[in-house]
Subunit: 228 residues, 2 copies
DNA sequence: TAAGTAATTTAGATAAATCTAAAAATATTT
DNA sequence: AAATATTTTTAGATTTATCTAAATTACTTA
């Protein structure tokens, strides 16, 4: 007998775990590891094991000792709802309250837990049903659906490749501030001018400007939609 | 040695207690009683005693066993900050997201705990520095200052008295919906036509329309600014 | 003023979320 | 395949916020 999801309520802590497990699932392997979750949430593996047990009981994850966790269909719904709220609030903060894109993640981490489906829908409407947040991350719709065209990390591209900078896959304000300083913005066209084998650093020309040098630590987080 | 307030952080539960104690202080007697707090917060007196102890240690209330609590200057600051956020968010929900005034209190109860002073200031600016929330409650400024002209409950007025309906001193959606149904809105002029001694019910003419009957349970929550 | 009643506090539990230290299981490396 | 290292789980505590039941204090009233 599956539990009724409709009025299932999750604590902030539970929501954060569910979201993190969802993200780690997306980003790769089956069987998300206890340590990976602990790292992400800045908690200890022992705490993660406890919480995973609880989430498994609530059937938002599948879990077998020592085998890692996998998000369930129910869990995916919960995660996408939280992610939807996070990204909508980020849009609100940037578009309406004039925050810079490096200032919004922390605040959205709080706002994503506000419980009111009407609020989420009204906010979405108020913002004009945005498709992406200020960092280019897609915003799931009410049903949890969203589309992402295929992207590659800039670090994976080759010399002479051309593309569109569409997303930053990292929330660190230092990275975002650095991109600001370099005048690199979402939506810019770019071309790979040079790539250093030894350290993976790259020379990139954005919008036909003088090329800039970017280290591998940076380029791995810049997501590019290839063109031609 | 007084504790540094600047980076004092309070839990949601603590903030709710502080806010409630502040409100009860305003609404009357010195020495807010354990039971009054328990009623307001839908908890048990034993829980209140525990929490009061904690708040006394943090010096946001003054407390002596069996003597009730009084909010301290520090506590007042914390309370006013939370109240400011609550009311600003209510304005946002009504003005920007088109909520009705009876739908916003619950959601504001959550939003008032979001921690970000920049957010509060930006929101205030976005809303045009409103002086009152959708129920007519005054919004404290950044320094916690606000002004209320003198008001009386409608129930305290006499036949032939005239005034301006400026505030509803109750969040219950049923009351607010009833006022909607009766087409009674903030800012309306009114005149007391009749007052029944037995039950305190009143006949009131709003904006020179056909008088309406209102029970004491209603009139005690309608705050009036007297004119002439 | 002495009972009786009401309000408040204490004592002892519980649930949630976290931790440290130790044990157990799994993975990796000689 | 052992030995070693890493990961994960268990055991046992801690903190916060809550509760019930019992004890204590204060207030009312006869
Ligand atoms: Mn974010
Ligand atoms: Mn984002
Ligand atoms: Mn309210
Ligand atoms: Mn209000």
């Amino acid at each position: 007998m599956p539990k009724i999801l409709i009025d299932m309520n999750f604590s902030f802590a539970e929501e954060n775990y569910i979201k993190t497990i969802y993200h780690l699932s997306q980003a790769g392997e089956v069987g998300v590891s206890t340590n990976a979750i602990a790292d992400q949430l800045h908690t200890k593996p022992a705490s993660v094991t406890d919480m995973i047990r609880k989430l498994a009981n609530k059937e938002v994850v599948d879990y077998q000792k020592y085998q890692g966790v996998n998000i369930s269909e129910q869990g995916k719904k919960v995660a996408l709802e939280v992610i939807r709220k996070h990204r909508l609030w980020e849009v609100f903060l940037v578009e309406k309250l004039k925050f810079n894109w490096d200032e919004v993640h922390e605040i959205a981490e709080q706002l994503e837990h506000i419980r009111s489906s009407i609020l989420t829908e009204r906010l979405d409407e108020f913002l004009g049903y945005p498709k992406a947040d200020p960092h280019g991350d897609p915003i799931p719709d009410k049903e949890g659906k969203f589309e992402t065209g295929p992207t590659v990390a800039l670090s994976e591209m080759s010399v002479d490749d051309i593309g569109l900078f569409v997303m930053v896959a990292n929330d660190d304000p230092h990275l975002l501030q650095y991109l600001d300083k370099m005048k690199i913005k979402l939506g810019m066209k770019l071309k790979v001018i040079d790539k250093v084998v030894f350290d993976g650093s790259m020379q990139i020309s954005f919008s036909n400007e003088t090329p800039v040098f970017l280290s591998h630590q940076i380029t791995q987080h810049l997501m590019i939609r290839k063109v031609a």
